[in-house]
Amino acid sequence: MEKLFNQLSATLLNNLRNGEHLKVTIGGENSQFVRFSQSKVRQSGLVDDASLSIVLINDNRTCSGSFTLTGNIENDKALAMTELNRLRDEVSTLPKDPFVVMPEDTGSSREEHNGSLLPSEDVVASLSPAMEGVDLAGIWASGRIFTGNANSAGQKHWFATDTYSLDYSLITPDERMVKGTFAGSNWNQSEYEKNMAKSIAKLRMMEKPGKKIEPGAYRTYIAPAGVADIVGMFSWGGVGEASIQQGDSSLCKMRQNDVKMSSCFTLSEDFTSGIVPRFNSNGELAPEKLDLILAGSLKNTLVSSRTAKEYGVQSNYAGEGESLRSPVLSPGDLNEDEVVQKIDKGIYLSNLHYLNWSDRPGGRITGMTRYACFWVENGEVVAPIENMRFDDSIYNFFGENLEAVTDKAHLHPAVETYDGRELGGVSCPGILLKSFELTL
């Protein structure tokens, strides 16, 4: 696909006229998906997908178009030129855009991570035996993901990687659940079998009689997978500079009133792991590491070049939507192995579910507890709890109620596949809270 991309971008760039500027982006995947329910195959298939996106700028007016590539170079060249000509016809009819971001050459890059993946025809036979005897629902996704960018200023980027993931839930006969994810780039059958055996052992803990708890405030530990879900909320009305400027961010209070979170809380955008590309759709390279909230204080926001022009601030080459691409929540000093003792009396939440801002300016989030969640007493796990709704503010649970952060960060791989398989994930530790509000 890299060769195809190079040929198509060269065709487009060589055909530009005076005054025209162009950005070209490719994205796609060659994937296998196998869906399991009751540890059996529900649906299985393969997907090849790739699209080319073109942004044309002329006389401070801009428009964009994308189309699905066929993989045949002559067909795709013709489609690309047809699209460029359509954009030419349209762009002159549009209003001027004072904040249009012109292409620049700030350096090119090329990264390709070749993995060792299971052949698609072997997947069912390789995965199924370790699931025997339990009820598993989940999705296997595997294959190559690629993205590239070129522009009329001469910049070029290419990123491709081979990855797999099995994201799954194990379910007891009385419907208690444990969540697991096994992901990587080089398949290892024995490591997979160990991962599944560990999850099955965890499921046995869920077979204890359950305990019903009432709504109220509880001393609470949220494990890294749950924290990853909360960190994800910072991408949606959180750390984006445009959302703050437009009054649509939960962090407006931090910017306008210098409200702080706990000194234990440090959130950064950190590309040093190399699992996601640093370049955005403009081809701009983000800094390798950018502190966003440092020891509870808002230090930086994610600023795209368009936002920078619109509001007169400095760009840090965030993506167009100014969402987190490689978030890292810094570990603290609470020994991960001592969490249950430190809770003493309260609740242990492994996962959260369906989060949403219930009052965005106030920083309040509602959602559900899910999967392996337990009542803890005298520093010991006593019983699984039924799922509860929570409704609490980030200024409470990342603020004065944040007692400690565990000493190990875990990577929670992105497994969503709406617009194709996602790259990267959230790296974060667990958090121990003095109080957390359960409402229903």
Binding site: G28, G45, S66, T70, T93, A137, L355
Partner: protein, 475 residues
């Protein structure tokens, strides 16, 4: 649309399978957005490909391919066959061709004005005028006017003789204003998702909607917070849309009830044994699966398994009578279902989705409903939504509220929220608005499935009164 002759492509496939189907989808999505007085997006994305599905040894295997030349379709069919055979080593169910009924027909969205009747430049002008209407004064700190136009052509042929052509024109119009005073931020929006033509962007209609949005955003700045109470709740149709979607629609998808979604969207409090027995809501609750409502967002003639789509009662007089299950779920569960086996595009396999799911109107006027309430709150327009994986415990927030005191709408309230549990909530439905209060809404972004799929759904409802609901305000 056709970039290939689908029947010829099907005939050319040479594999040993019990059934082969080809579903070709071409979709063009255009955005025109003006934000804060300037163009934010003028984009058009075209997505095109073919889904090759194969049935062998009781299993379906698929290959969604962007390369649609005959040699690649043959290769895709061979690989899909390989997937089916591999699945047969550990299958959840043994399917036959009964899962893909033979059907022929076509569907066309209704519309008055074609897409080409409204140029890009003219639509930008209208959106700019809408923005100017939204920005009532400087307390509106950000506003946008958005037009989204989706043109879809979907063709389906199969080795057992199905041949379906469907052509859709779908439009989303969205007007939004954020108002600010000191620490108070309040957003007001107005969103339509319909199968309609460019008449949706009639300038007078657009400006009237934008003006109301801007004015009500400002009104919220001086409003009191919604009180905390357990009281009567009157919901407008643009909130009922979300209420139906989350606490009825998802709960009744048969693939969820069978457990397929347990790793992602979740399970359901409804079980197979509940059909025909569970009193889902009060006696005045009637829910229909209805792909035939004029202009509703998820109208279609046939689902992606080839089943003809028809209006049907899902809940009748409060009793659960039917599930939202397509042919595969019907075969697996033995439950009656509907034609809702749908895929988001050519690159995803179909699963059970909602389509249009509506609450049928009752007999009360809006004034009669308000007059029946001594004390309560009226809420419009969803802004926050969250529900558990069994579709039980929900918490929803709205943009705009009014107190109801002694049978009259009085003060405006901001940050109105409510929370409840689905089954008792629907059984607390006390009054239903008549057809004058019935409005049609939808969303392009119903997420579900593994691999994930975002699909379009439509929901229509009258104004509704619920009793004894927990309500509350902001921080």
């Amino acid at each position: 649309m056709s970039q290939l002759n689908l029947n010829d492509a099907l005939s050319a496939i040479d594999i040993q399978a019990d059934w082969v189907g080809l579903r070709e989808v071409k979709e063009s999505t255009t955005y025109r957005i003006i934000r804060d007085g300037n163009p934010q997006a003028n984009s058009r994305d075209i997505d095109y490909g073919v889904m090759v599905e194969v049935l062998a040894e009781g299993q379906f295997g698929y290959y969604g391919c962007n390369n649609t030349n005959p040699a690649n379709i043959q290769k895709a069919a061979e690989k899909a066959l390989q997937q089916a055979k591999a699945s047969a080593k550990n299958p959840i169910f043994e399917f036959t061709t009964e899962a893909r009924p033979v059907t022929k027909g076509n569907f066309q969205s209704p519309f008055k004005q074609k897409v080409n009747d409204l140029s890009a430049g003219r639509l930008n002008e209208i959106m700019l005028k809408a923005y100017n209407q939204l920005k009532v004064n400087d307390q509106i700190v950000s506003a946008h006017a958005m037009a989204m136009i989706i043109e879809t052509e979907s063709n389906f042929v199969s080795s057992n003789g199905s041949d379906v052509q469907q052509s859709f024109l779908m439009v989303q119009s969205d007007y939004s204003a954020m108002a600010n005073k000191g620490d108070i931020y309040q957003r007001r929006t107005d969103n339509h998702c319909l199968q309609i033509g460019m008449e949706e962007f009639d300038e007078d209609l657009v400006l009237a909607r934008a003006q109301r949005v801007g004015e009500q955003a400002l009104e919220l700045l001086d409003a009191e917070d919604c009180p905390t109470d357990t009281t009567n709740l009157v919901l407008a149709p643009d909130q009922m849309m979300l209420q139906i979607h989350e606490s009825v629609g998802h709960a009744l998808e048969v693939d969820r009830i069978l457990g397929d979604e347990r790793n992602y969207a979740g399970w359901s409090f409804v079980r197979e044994a509940d059909f025909g027995k569970l009193q889902y809501g009060s006696k005045i609750m009637n829910i229909t699966f209805d792909p035939t409502v004029d202009n509703q967002f998820a109208c279609y003639g046939y689902d992606d398994g080839g089943l003809k789509a028809e209006r049907d009662f899902i809940i009748k007089d409060g009793l659960l009578v039917k599930g939202l299950g397509g042919k595969e779920s019907q075969l697996r569960s033995g439950l009656p279902g509907v034609a809702n086996f749908r895929a988001s595009s050519w690159n995803r396999a179909p699963i059970d989705r909602m389509a249009n799911l509506n609450l049928e109107p009752g007999e009360s006027t809006f004034d009669e409903i308000i007059a029946a309430v001594d004390h309560g709150v009226y809420m419009e327009t969803n802004r926050s939504w969250s529900i558990d994986d069994y579709r039980n415990k929900f918490q929803f927030g709205c943009e705009y509220g009014k107190l109801i005191e002694n049978g009259k709408l009085t003060k405006t309230v901001k940050n109105p929220n409510y929370r409840a549990i689905s089954n008792p909530f629907w059984n607390s439905l006390k009054m239903l608005g008549n057809s004058d209060t019935f409005e049609v809404y939808g969303t392009p972004y119903c997420g579900k499935g593994e691999p994930n799929q975002a699909i379009r759904v439509g929901h229509a409802s009258p104004v509704c009164l619920f009793e004894n609901v927990e309500i509350f305000g902001g921080v």
